[in-house]
Subunit: 305 residues, 2 copies
């Protein structure tokens, strides 16, 4: 049994009020894979890079992440994204998006990946998400889809096709409003669940996350942080932590989903503490245990009457 | 022992996407007093109205609220506020603010109010808040201050004086940022607590509330609502529910403060279900009990490893 993650592996150049980076490794599959690898020990990636990616592949040794599904295109250049965050860290300008080898990405699934029980379709063109699902010989036990407003704008029909095939959708509050046409997140969730997914997670950044499904709602807090150093990858780290926890406990129900949202939130809270993948690279299990305790303290109350 | 609430008693005219009202009873002390009266049975109000308020005073019979501290000015007109909410319900335009008798409000404290142990200084000019405190013969066990951005703009020095004398401050996130000059709410809380209050509650509307104090943080969820009918008074109902719960349990510590935030959130969630005070007028205890259970279900998770 394995957890398979499909998504981008990229170079990012990031500017925040705290400083700026040269090209560093980023991408949805990178952040999600690293985050998941702290919670589950059989994580496999599907992606594409150019041969300029080089030794950066060693990044994935940390969690024994299987990279045999990452195609390396000879003479190709790795997907590059550059962005600048505003002072409030909640909005950003995209400075460059060079698709490079991502433009022709045709996901290939190694035979050794066919034991996939948990599948994360990371943020990527819906067509690649559809192709990945179609090329798996067995339907996974749980499929989680992450997407963004861009695909709602340019590939809504494809997105609706893939939405019918997944169990969980993770998007942010603005995207939930856009996809449903409803301002109220409760009404938005009802409409989105009618599009296919049994569960919906609405990510609200510094305001936490809402989980809808089985007629229930769960509200997870975000850890109040003195400083958000770099928000890049937080949503991917969330998704990776979320599905990594579920793969570990290997029982899908609302109670475990709630815990998975907390683990996802914890991984996202680490991710933003430094540039790019820096914090996820040097994280240790004790820190995760402590962070989970922080989330418990943060939200626990006892009313006895 | 009693809970004393000082604040406005007003007429409001409200327009929301759901409809509009003629002049209905509103005001910070009204909403806070009604909300508190469901949780504590000795609530006393200090305010001022004109004799046009008339029979509306019977509104406060519901919770046996003591109105002997509400001055009725012969020939005077009651404070009037009119506002229009935008479609997102998070922003509004003020259409009219007629101070009327509020312009010369000099709070008088009946002798029977001197048993005050819990004091809510509802949203009002800081000078009236200072005068009320000065006229109490004994320092209350707990003083909660509610205020808003307007007083930060026009009466910051007075506000800083009263901040030194209170135990708890409740403001929203934008106001916390304005008052502290810090974007991060964690840093904002540190700076604001240095101004005087031992505890700070940051209200985030549909995103819940944060409680800071004793070196701890608590994040309370907001109930996800399909419809917010009229947000007017939600912050006051929150403050009333908060201090009403603390008066009932009569022990001030972080654990009870957390529960009080949940009770305040519950009272606010009722308040917005209908226009003005409508929902608080017909509320029954069983509904409050059920709503508290909703908050428990909404935020509870159990991680056992």
């Amino acid at each position: 049994m394995s957890l398979v993650i499909v998504g981008t592996v990229a170079f990012d150049a990031i500017e925040t009020p705290f400083g700026e980076t040269d090209k560093i490794v980023g991408g949805a599959a990178t952040f999600a894979g690293l985050a998941a690898s702290f919670l589950y020990d059989n994580v496999k990636l599907i992606s594409v890079v150019g041969d300029d990616f080089g030794d950066n592949m060693s990044l994935f040794k940390r969690g024994n992440i299987d990279t045999s599904g990452i195609q390396v295109i000879a003479g190709g250049k790795t997907f590059f994204w550059s962005g600048k965050y505003h002072n409030d860290m909640n909005s950003r300008d995209t400075l460059a998006t060079d698709l490079n080898v991502l433009a022709d990405f045709d996901p290939k699934i190694p035979a050794s990946y066919q034991d996939c029980s948990y599948l994360l379709l990371g943020n990527l063109t819906p067509q690649v998400q559809i192709d990945t699902l179609a090329r798996l010989q067995h339907k996974p036990k749980l499929v989680v889809l992450d997407t963004m407003n861009y695909w709602m704008n340019v590939a809504l029909d494809d997105l609706k096709v893939v939405l019918k095939k997944v169990d969980v959708l993770t998007i942010n509050d603005a995207e939930a409003r856009q996809l449903s046409g409803e301002y109220s997140l409760v009404k938005a969730a009802q409409k989105i669940i009618e599009l296919g997914p049994k569960y919906l997670i609405i990510k609200k950044g510094e305001h936490g996350a809402l989980l809808f499904g089985e007629g229930q709602v769960f509200s997870a807090p975000a850890l109040p942080l003195a400083e958000v150093f770099d928000p890049t990858g937080a949503g991917d780290a969330f998704a990776g932590g979320f599905i990594g926890y579920l793969a570990r406990v290997n029982t899908v129900n609302f109670s475990n989903m709630k815990n998975a949202v907390i683990y996802g939130s914890a991984m996202a809270s680490f991710c933003v503490e430094r540039f790019g993948t820096e914090r996820l690279q040097d994280l240790i299990q004790d820190e995760i245990r402590d962070r989970i305790q922080d989330f418990i303290s943060l939200s626990k109350f006892e009313i006895s009457e």
